[in-house]
């Protein structure tokens, strides 16, 4: 794992769930397992670097996230819950990339793919950074996959 990328991933995820989901994330550094997964959202990106960002929601996060985003007190339909997770992945990815590649680089982000655990998403290799956020309703895990980090290392002073 790359510590700089892990820090950037955690901070971007915290900002996303605070501002988009109106939640109060806390770091999960006690190594406790985050609980059973509800769904995952995956966003692909390409440009200076290529890869994927995957967010997995555990336990009751989907219901809380979607209800907060929509400002609804009652239950949110399942397809809207998944859509909310996909949008969270989109926002997290869009805010993470400039921290990694700089604000001048042009990066293309694909539409999010969302799936329940039974449906599954193809695992794009081993992550270069991973983090977990504790939320009131449960937890979310984020994993960053990058095909080749060489362009970032070459750009370092």
């Amino acid at each position: 794992m790359n510590p700089c990328l892990t820090t950037a991933l955690y901070e971007t995820a915290a900002l996303t769930f605070e501002q988009l989901g109106m939640m109060l994330p806390v770091p999960m550094d006690d190594g406790a397992p985050p609980g059973p997964p509800e769904a995952s959202a995956q966003v692909a990106f390409r440009g200076t670097i290529e890869g994927h960002l995957v967010i997995t929601a555990h336990e009751g996060v989907l219901a809380e996230l979607s209800a907060n985003m929509l400002g609804e007190d009652g239950p949110v339909p399942p397809e809207r819950q998944l859509d909310a997770l996909g949008e969270a992945a989109n926002v997290a990815c869009g805010n993470l990339l400039p921290r990694i590649v700089g604000r001048q680089a042009v990066m293309r982000i694909s539409a999010p793919q969302v799936a329940r655990p039974a449906e599954g998403l193809p695992k794009p290799g081993e992550p270069v950074a991973e983090t977990h956020l504790g939320l009131e309703a449960g937890a979310v895990s984020l994993a960053l996959f990058v095909a080749d980090l060489t362009p970032l290392q070459e750009a370092e002073p």
């Binding site: 988009l20 859509d83 989109n90 869009g94 805010n95 400039p98 001048q104 539409a111």
Partner: protein
């Protein structure tokens, strides 16, 4: 003047968030149309009078960048007020969108950033307008 607004985003939850923000903003908003991609949005623009479009960039079928180009190429819509609401952070791409006359609001957004951008772009006021009851209650002016 009440605005007819078109909200374009492939996420139905994000569209609902933007619509809710518009309804709570105090801005004079009349009809709100929704589209899930640029092609659907252009079809709505052909059939309806729309004063303002709030447009995402990363969408399937037709993205917001191409949609903005088509809008500017069409004499019927070339002066449409457009606000891009996106996670885009590349200064190069944001500058390219601004050069096509679009304003930019970054996701995640605050309701104030949406409202202030619309006020600045369209010149509409977010001051409450007197409704019929307020006029009635004020009594005769003599």
């Amino acid at each position: 003047m009440a605005l007819n607004v078109l909200v374009v985003d492939d996420s139905c939850v994000m569209r609902a968030m933007i619509v809710r923000t518009l309804r709570l903003s105090g801005l004079p908003v009349s009809e709100i149309y929704e589209a899930g991609d640029g092609a659907e949005a252009l079809a709505l623009l052909e059939r309806n009078w729309i004063d303002l479009a709030l447009v995402d960039i990363n969408m399937p079928i037709m993205d917001g960048e191409e949609m903005l180009c088509r809008i500017r190429e069409n004499p019927e819509t070339d002066d449409l007020a457009v606000v891009v609401v996106s996670t885009e952070s590349s200064e190069t791409r944001i500058q390219a969108l601004r050069s096509k006359g679009a304003r930019f609001v970054h996701k995640p957004f605050t309701p104030e950033s949406i409202r202030d951008t619309i006020v600045d772009l369209t010149g509409v006021s977010d001051e409450p307008m007197p409704d019929d009851s307020a006029i009635r209650d004020s009594g005769p002016d003599f």
